[in-house]
Symmetry: C2
Subunit: 493 residues, 2 copies
Amino acid sequence: MSKGLPKRSEDYSLWYNELVKRADLAENSAVRGCMVIKPYGYSIWEKMQAELDRMFKETGHTNAYFPLFIPKSYLSKEASHVEGFAKECAVVTHYRLKNAEDGSGVIVDPEAKLEEELIVRPTSETVIWSTYKNWIQSYRDLPLLVNQWANVVRWEMRTRLFLRTAEFLWQEGHTAHATREEAIQETEQMMNVYAQFAEEFMALPVVRGRKTENERFAGAEDTLCIEAMMQDGKALQAGTSHFLGQNFAKAFDVKFAAKDGKLDYVWGTSWGVSTRLMGALIMAHSDDNGLVLPPKLAPTQVVIVPIYRGEEEFKAISEKANEFATALRRVGVSVKFDDRDTHKPGWKFAEYELKGVPVRIAIGPRDLENGTVEIARRDTLTKETFELNSQPIEQKILDLLDDIQNTIYNKALHFREEHTTEVNSWDEFKEVLENKGGFIAAHWDGTGETEEKIKELTKATIRCIPINQKQEEGECVLTGKPSKGRVLFAKAY
Amino acid sequence: MSKGLPKRSEDYSLWYNELVKRADLAENSAVRGCMVIKPYGYSIWEKMQAELDRMFKETGHTNAYFPLFIPKSYLSKEASHVEGFAKECAVVTHYRLKNAEDGSGVIVDPEAKLEEELIVRPTSETVIWSTYKNWIQSYRDLPLLVNQWANVVRWEMRTRLFLRTAEFLWQEGHTAHATREEAIQETEQMMNVYAQFAEEFMALPVVRGRKTENERFAGAEDTLCIEAMMQDGKALQAGTSHFLGQNFAKAFDVKFAAKDGKLDYVWGTSWGVSTRLMGALIMAHSDDNGLVLPPKLAPTQVVIVPIYRGEEEFKAISEKANEFATALRRVGVSVKFDDRDTHKPGWKFAEYELKGVPVRIAIGPRDLENGTVEIARRDTLTKETFELNSQPIEQKILDLLDDIQNTIYNKALHFREEHTTEVNSWDEFKEVLENKGGFIAAHWDGTGETEEKIKELTKATIRCIPINQKQEEGECVLTGKPSKGRVLFAKAY
């Protein structure tokens, strides 16, 4: 292991970048803006995927797979949609390479030009709705509840590992319904699924809300979202769920015959979360020693480190360690017994702290004598001597993992509460944003102009209109015009 | 359900295409050569993925994710590699769209041209080895055992659903080793993992073998493969495992310090299977009534169909059906109770036959009286009346699923044996190929010229030199030159 990480208090951004690299989560690739997700980072993403996939299936969705490429004309069919994505589209124009005739190497064969350019999907509404046209004839074909796990590409100019990359991994749900109400219900349901996933598994409290018109998905009638707060007080949009109205059904002429035989356009939703969640997970909980992972998403929940001199001590300790590992695995805990003799215990302690393993058990010769082990928890960096005859170790560890999961969640919740401020004047708004950060709950006059103006002046955006917004008369913090409730402003990732 | 499928005996190719579409497995998309994998097809692929992923992890591999795009210069670094893939590369040249100034619509922005063109990965050796350069310094970093689940693009001119598509899904393992021997061992191990998966889960007997030099992967020193036989007697390459020697290590300058401090290039392997396996699965077992799925990969293993008149009968039958479903689920069987009143039993029978559900249980009022159910198996299309008091139904079904899995396998094995012919003359070769098809075991003089000539004359290729090839003196079936063992020829997908 190399020297310590940069400190969050000194350079939060550098701390994040270094942590992502040193904890073996991801790195930049040779292609601008595209990342390599390293095995350890990917194993966390796999755990997220597994839970989300289970939740999608439990709510009646099935997976499918649609093409990577979208004909340019398809993307253009929904006007505001193409408007929203045109500036960041990777375009395939040719389908062959050849050797240059002047011997200068391999070139794109100018004769192998596509008749119509293909866009590498930035999102799949258009290609999916063009398919749904053939899948949907009558109300019996509805609802159609499909999800896809895929890679998408948005040619971003400024990128950061996990948070904003030219290519990222995500899931995108695309559903079709017979009624407006049912589609709205689905939109809300999936926002709630995301919120539940964030809170229960990522230990990440989120605000459920609605985007303003300015911040809506290109092609949606309504965008719901979950917004989380990072330790630097900035907001991070962690998932969105869109009510598409009949926009894409109209663009792709997807109609269905109702029970009474009447033809109508289908109602749609789409919803997604991405590898951006990895960035949220890292930034919400980790500290200056490295990653802090919620036990429910940690690839390794417990590491056992032997402390010994000589073969004989090692043998006795290994026996005990293997016994614990077996007992823990039997109750579903993932355990690693790190018996490598190539690294010292101190090195291992630091390594697993950096990697965010929630619980460390250390066993030395004195522990064997005393019938104890040392148990350290990653989140609080505290240690205790555990008496093996006080209770079964597997119960001790299960309780501890639960406690860690809850503690991390509560800490993040407390932080968010501490960093959510109601302000009632423009001076106060600027002052809080500048000196404290976090969410600012303020009145807003409901216009896009004011929203835009505030963004220009402060870089703060309206993260959402909370679902549980209190009805409250007030005056817009910038214009003084009337408002009926507070919205959440913040600087955001 | 629409009318019957075309018959295999009349038009095998049409039968396959229609089956894929009617059983809701996949369909063509608006983008030439790119398919949509429909929910039912994808659920079978997910089962394959789950088993393969488990097998990869059990053999020490971890998953990671590498970029979709490969800089053109990277692809060119390994000479035979670029040679092999240049003719089918989708090329990204631009990164933005804009509105045409003449108002004609959305066009590719000519000013947003990439400095270096990007290739949509046809396979990831180059981008991965360029990354491995930074991951590998010493023998302690080896072996590096990484797999990736991803989409890849090869711009094929003639495509067929699952078998040959411009975009397909696959996994690609990429490993790095300190010694030649260890890399060869890995190459063999992964061929064996594929063979085990094919035989145990897909119920698909395969020949393990080695490709000839002509048929080797572009950039490999040796390509091992598993070859299966379809019901029309054509061969299908179901998986390949490549020993890369030090080719990619040299192209990307990946060296490691051995224990003695000596620097050497790393030894590599790569191996993959793709959604092509779906094609193999379908073509190996299915019949003129539809899909036949091996129970171990069937998304639904048992369907229960009630046969009733009126609400009262339905209630009594439903109670029984739900009791069975619960008992079966408890022992890990996936069951669907199709209680829809919108479709008649006969329609359902045909539908589940088409979809390849291995076991159908029908329950009618007389069954209730007699304490029986009707059990039908999909593979043999046979039915029996099962006495419920003869043994627990879950044991009956578990045994039946096992039996179906074995029967399907043995049927395919028998077919392959019947269609593997040793021939000793050129006339016999042509005669067998023409009239019987299948694998032809023949002597070959070992030259690429002869192999090429035979392909030109007959369209048959050398599928592989079997791993268990008998040492046997003989004369090349075309040239009469000496040979030391038979190789397998066939027409292939």
